[in-house]
Amino acid sequence: MIALEPFLEGAVRTATPLGFAALGETITERSGIINIGLEGAIIAGAFGAFVAAGTGHVWIGFAGAAVAGMLVAALFAFFAIRIRADQIIAGTAISLMSLGLTATLYHQLYGATGAALSIPTMAVAEIPGLAAIPVIGRALFAQPPITYLLFVLVPCAWWWLYRTHSGLGLRAVGEDPRAAVAAGVPANRVQALAVLLGGMLGGIAGGVLVIAQAGSFAEGMSAGRGFIAIAIVVLGRWHPIGVALAALVFGAASALQYLFQAMGWSLPYQLFLALPYVLTLLGLAGIAGKSTAPASLGRWQDQP
């Protein structure tokens, strides 16, 4: 089974940006807000990373990604929280705007041909010892450092949501905002914070695409990952650990093409390109009725 190692490495690589975005959306949705603008945060993050990494430092690139993602999220927060507009329409419009704006700026700043600028990329950093574990070692411990950050963030997010007072407050807002307000939780502020945090992680997901994977920016390179991440949140039942596992399963399914290539099976490549979207549909159908959303998710009618 020579093909298994590159397959698992590919699975973790594909899962990393999805994991960041889905973890952020989990926090946002736990506060009762569904941010369809996540796709916009990812593409903005990718562009922000591309611009900021031009300074020559990968971590400045990721900071740029986080800031760009938060800016998009702040715009969404204004519509969803400040003026309580319909979250689905606002999110869709913000995704559309971010895709158009990044494409326009990219053309204006770097010309129609693009790729004039070379940016530093984040190399794989093997963890000595652990990377030598057979089969799974390289998949988990021979990744770029940003992936290790995700490994740390997932249990942190779980701890915060389930074991701290402020995490409980956030979940309470998502279930019943008016009751939370009565109990002294500042619901609007909690939701705004949750949206910004989600946007920041979405932005970092875009940064991963540029800095740790593609090494450059391309129009529309988020390629629906924001929407897939929203589906992953449902598949992971709004729980950080569940969401991380769902992202991994998703990454594995998308990485099947490496396994197939290695085995010499030839199938139309469009089939592999379409596979993540087909899997999302099948996954969503498969968990029917077994998953409960936060009770006030997306319901602006419930808001205080």
């Binding site: 369809i36 519509f79 003026i83 309580r84 507009a85 319909d86 689905i88 329409i89 606002a90 869709t92 419009a93 913000i94 559309l96 705007m97 895709l99 158009g100 704006l101 494409a103 326009t104 053309h107 204006q108 129609a112 129009e219 390629a223 629906g224 929407f227 897939i228 929203i230 589906a231 449902v234 139309p268 469009q270 089939l271 390109l273 379409a274 979207y277 087909v278 999302t280 549909l281 969503l284 159908a285 029917a288 009725g289 959303a293 997306g298 319901r299």
Partner: protein, 304 residues
């Protein structure tokens, strides 16, 4: 007369926007969040192309009478996948229709490089439609085809349908207040939104069929310049009113043809048009939210 042909070009561009805009307005009115007009339009284009190429030589001038209904049926079937997923598994149609959009894009990509590729196998597109299978030009000397007349008739027809028929009333009631529609009006809300979903998909599919029979005469990857997404802006700016869709469809067509001219003459990327569209949606949202009411008829049926 160059002015006349510029006007005709804008109306040609308005045709898919009006029909797909009607599809979105119809869905939103009935409480269905169909973001999938783009995918349904592409599948409709596939059906119209396949029917025209295969059955064209036999049917001659009758081809259109099979190809266009075929496009509508294909679009309805594509929307039907999302409608089924919603009815049986309570899958959010916002996610499922976006996934189906991506799948449709890859399906077109596969077909124009595989089974439907033109005989020389050089270009990723199909053979051109025979003269007899094309929509007639209605303004000689320009590209304005009969599809525009169909779009206007459809808009007028739907305006009448909403105002004057029992089913139209049931659909409006379902979209406006599903609980009241069920308890006070004995309206089968689930069935009504299922029908709405299929009709909406059928309209979007027809838009794709008309685009092939009237403008492109062949199937290729970038056949739709995001018409299905622009249609959301078209429908919202029209306040989901079918007659308003005619005006906003023409408005957005001028915006987009104007952006294309800017790109050609001043090297301003045409993606600025999608930024403008998104800003218009957000402005409409802000105005309606600050006035303390949603966009008319827009209340979401929660499938959970």
């Amino acid at each position: 007369m160059p002015e006349l042909s510029l006007l005709a070009d804008a109306l040609v561009r308005a045709t898919p926007l009006i029909i797909a805009g009607l599809a979105v307005a119809f869905a939103f009115r009935g409480g269905v969040f169909n973001i999938g007009a783009e995918g349904q339009l592409l599948v409709g284009a596939i059906a119209a192309t396949a029917i025209s190429l295969w059955a064209g030589p036999v049917l001659g001038r009758l081809t259109l009478f099979v190809a266009l209904p075929g496009a509508a049926i294909a679009g309805a079937a594509w929307a039907g996948i999302a409608a089924e997923l919603r009815r049986r598994f309570r899958v959010l149609e916002i996610i499922s229709t976006i996934m189906l959009n991506f799948i449709a894009i890859h399906l077109v990509s596969f077909l124009v490089r595989g089974p439907l590729q033109e005989p020389t196998r050089i270009y990723p597109q199909t053979e051109s439609l025979a003269e007899a299978a094309r929509l007639p030009v209605i303004l000689s000397g320009t590209r304005l085809h009969a599809g525009f007349a169909i779009a206007i008739l459809l808009a007028v027809g739907f305006a009448w349908f909403f105002r004057r028929t029992a089913l139209g009333f049931r659909i409006r009631a379902t979209g406006a207040a599903p609980a009241a529609a069920w308890s006070a009006g004995r309206i089968d809300v689930g069935r009504t939104s299922y029908i709405v979903f299929l009709v909406s998909g059928g309209l979007a599919g027809l838009a794709g069929g008309i685009e092939v029979s009237g403008v492109t005469f062949a199937l290729y990857e970038n056949l739709s310049a995001g018409y299905g997404y622009t249609a959301i802006a078209v429908a919202l700016i029209a306040g989901l009113n079918p007659l308003g869709v005619i005006a906003s469809g023409i408005f957005f067509a001028f915006l987009e043809t104007g952006a294309l001219a800017l790109q050609r003459d001043f090297a301003i990327p045409s993606s600025v048009a999608s930024v403008a569209e998104a800003l218009l949606i957000l402005a409409a949202l802000a105005v309606s939210s600050l006035r303390g009411r949603g966009i008319p008829g827009l209340k979401r049926v929660r499938p959970t």
